[in-house]
Symmetry: C2
């Protein structure tokens, strides 16, 4: 089985056998497949695509390239959540303590932000002392103690995915649904989880802007999970405007804590609870989504979710007092309001430019090696549907370095579209796809539906 | 200008700017473009293609990656010939002395054989002592002395092409007309030539089996040459059966010498004279193809072409006595006849299996590092249209190592199709394409025509 023949087969539009895909992935570590051969195959995959069986085989081979974490010593159905990334999306930080407090073990492995999207790890690191670089032994320990752990991808998990991810970034082969699906799922399924809830974003602030693409990605990930015997639920959610009212790092931790206190903005709380409820059902703690939603809201009302978050912070080396005192989080030197130029209603607030401006202020990365300023970001006082009055602030920029302030200000000003009449409210959750053997005995692949919103 | 952005542009189907292509080629030597980036771009080019302007820019950049040989100290219009490769195709060895004897300086840089096709360098090396690895100084000297020189590609000529050629071979990105055209033309145009005659093969024994593809390749090469101010003529010729009656190395040199003595088979002599005549017209020695054909046939009749070949052999270290005594060439231990199974006529004699069998006998290479046995090969006594009698030899295998003799015999036996009635004769030269400023003031791009056969 020669690499060049496998590349030619895909170039000619044929489906590869699982053994061929396994040989290509094994060839990364053994050195039998050259990097220039893999990149040629990646471009051929972008061109020709991969079917469900090929995508599953690639995922499986990438999982086997490293350690598959054994969490069998920890009781319960382990469930994680993954988002394809958006602006102001801090749901992981809210829902993980909720699900853990509800009784579902949550072993969460997250990523960092790049471009206009933020990353859970960067946000967590704005908590003084918080460490995300635990090794796998410590990962297991914290999970056993807190029913919850939040770390970054370790070197042992899916090293072939790390290699291919970096190569795709340098060869313009990122934009391929099967490659994206296999990359996400290989990392998640190597963590030792039993179930996974996916938040697949769609819209101008999402990686996938078109609903069709988002649906195809969600379906591909559900098929991979089902094929490997895991229970998967994907919600396709709108990412046309930022989620919640905060975009940045410390400012998003503060907003997450407010949500866990029962004081968060409605869109963010509702989506966090919905995703947590899916986890609670997959985890076998509740028999229906309605029951699960009630369980989740109760963990907020009775303070157990906030307490779970405080315990997690302490276990991972952070200062748990931040949950009671938000002033312990880093704060910026300057706050700059952007005022509304007129009376009216916010017709739209484009997520991507808000994310871009936040990055320019220093809260995100233009490149993987950029440094982050945890204190800066944006607070959005007005969002879609809100009434605005000329001269009143639309939002506040949290600023340390004024070098790119003017540029960021202009971008955010343009992100707001203001009209005379309010636009009709749009649902946040657009579709739901479920697959795999769940505790609820869900059918293997249910058609997507609009019945959850 | 980042490599990843250039790759993405081609991936998305857009034409690259000359500066972008130049940057990618320059990045090979500087190390600024990683090999895995180039291979991804190659696959994107196989997918999306390149237009004439891009192909010219790639050729130009590859030429500039090395030395452009300066032959201005040598008088006359220097003309070379290139074939896309076939079975039994030894026309270069015949036409080069003819054109040189006719007064056209012929600086010829050739390649080696791979797979079912032979290579001019391998054939020449079957002449005892003949060296093809001259450096550029010696190349100029021999050309000045003999009006002819025949060497292999040196390290100084188009090193970027060498790099990309090896990479294409390992990444299934060989099959792309713009990449093939740019590779051939960069090597040829760096040699210091003024004009070039191309023999683009078509049919089962050719790299391009379909006439459409061969025409597209010929057109692409003519456009490149014309764009860089060179006079180019391409003949598209049929490679359905082997050319001449010999396939191998020494056996092809012997047949070439027979042609130069005026004793060669008609198809081979006619094509060699036709290609040489094109060179003689491009070289400004004759004003018309008819006149040029007469000039070329005269160099055979008066022995000046054979004398030119003998001078060349001596100048490149070989034994010139081979032109008078073919027994000085290496000969095989065994000769094995393959007899006709029935009476009738050869309806077809497939070139590719004959080439494959010749390779199995040791005359060719399965891989670039295979060793060649110069003495072995095949002599074809019967070809398309010939009458055959049951039990009389169709061909003779020239054998040293009998390890794969049975396999080679079976393959050649199957290559012959014998029918009751003779098939109609088919022309060898199918089309002619000319481009660029020739001494005949040919229009820049003449439409292909069937008027030459």
């Amino acid at each position: 089985m020669r690499a060049v023949d496998i590349i030619r087969k895909k170039r000619n539009g044929h489906a590869l056998e699982p053994a061929e895909i396994a040989a290509m992935v094994a060839g990364i570590a053994s050195g039998e497949v050259a990097d220039y051969q893999w990149s040629a195959l990646l471009m051929a995959i972008v061109w020709r695509g991969m079917d469900a069986s090929e995508t599953a085989a690639l995922t499986d081979a990438m999982i086997r390239s490293g350690t598959i974490v054994d969490l069998s010593s920890i009781a319960g159905v382990k469930v994680d959540k993954h988002s394809t990334g958006g602006v102001g999306d801090k749901t992981s930080i809210i829902l993980a303590p909720i699900a853990a407090a509800a009784g579902v073990p949550v072993p969460m492995v997250s990523g960092r932000g790049l471009g206009h999207t933020g990353g859970t790890l960067d946000k967590l690191e704005s908590i003084p002392g918080f460490r995300v670089d635990l090794d796998l032994a410590r990962y297991r320990e914290v999970l056993a103690r807190c029913n919850l752990v939040m770390i970054g991808q370790t070197a042992e998990i899916a090293p072939a995915d790390k290699y291919l991810y970096a190569m795709r970034d340098a060869t313009a082969t990122v934009e391929s649904i099967p490659l994206i699906a296999a990359s996400i799922m290989s990392k998640k399924l190597a963590e030792g989880i039993d179930g996974l809830v996916l938040d697949v974003k769609t819209g101008n602030g999402a990686f996938m802007e078109r609903l069709d693409d988002s649906r195809a990605l969600a379906t591909a990930m559900c098929e991979i999970g089902a094929g490997l015997g895991k229970a998967i639920v994907a919600l396709i959610t709108r990412m046309d405007q930022p989620l919640g009212r905060a975009a940045g790092n410390a400012v998003e931790i503060a907003e997450s804590i407010e949500c866990l206190r029962g004081e968060g903005p409605e869109d963010l709380v509702d989506l966090s609870v919905e995703l947590a409820a899916e986890m609670v059902v997959l985890g076998g703690v509740a028999g229906s989504l309605d029951e699960a939603r009630a369980v989740c809201r109760r963990t907020i009302a009775d303070g157990t979710a906030l307490a779970a978050f405080a315990r997690l912070i302490e276990a991972q080396g952070g200062d748990p007092r931040v949950v009671d005192d938000l002033d312990r989080l880093p704060s910026p030197r300057t706050r700059v309001d952007i005022e509304s130029p007129r009376d009216g209603f916010v017709r739209s607030l484009a997520a991507r430019p808000v994310g871009h401006a936040t990055m320019l202020l220093g809260a995100g990365r233009a490149r993987m090696d950029s440094r982050i300023d945890h204190a800066v970001g944006v607070l959005l006082h007005r969002k879609e549907g809100d009434r605005v009055v000329r001269g009143e602030p639309l939002c506040t920029l949290l600023v340390n370095d004024e070098a790119r302030l003017a540029e960021a200000t202009a971008i955010i000003r343009d992100a707001y579209a203001i009209s005379d009449a309010p636009a009709p409210a749009r649902p946040l959750i657009l579709e739901r796809i479920a697959a795999g053997p769940g505790p609820r005995q869900a059918p293997v692949a249910r058609p997507s539906s609009h019945d959850v919103s």
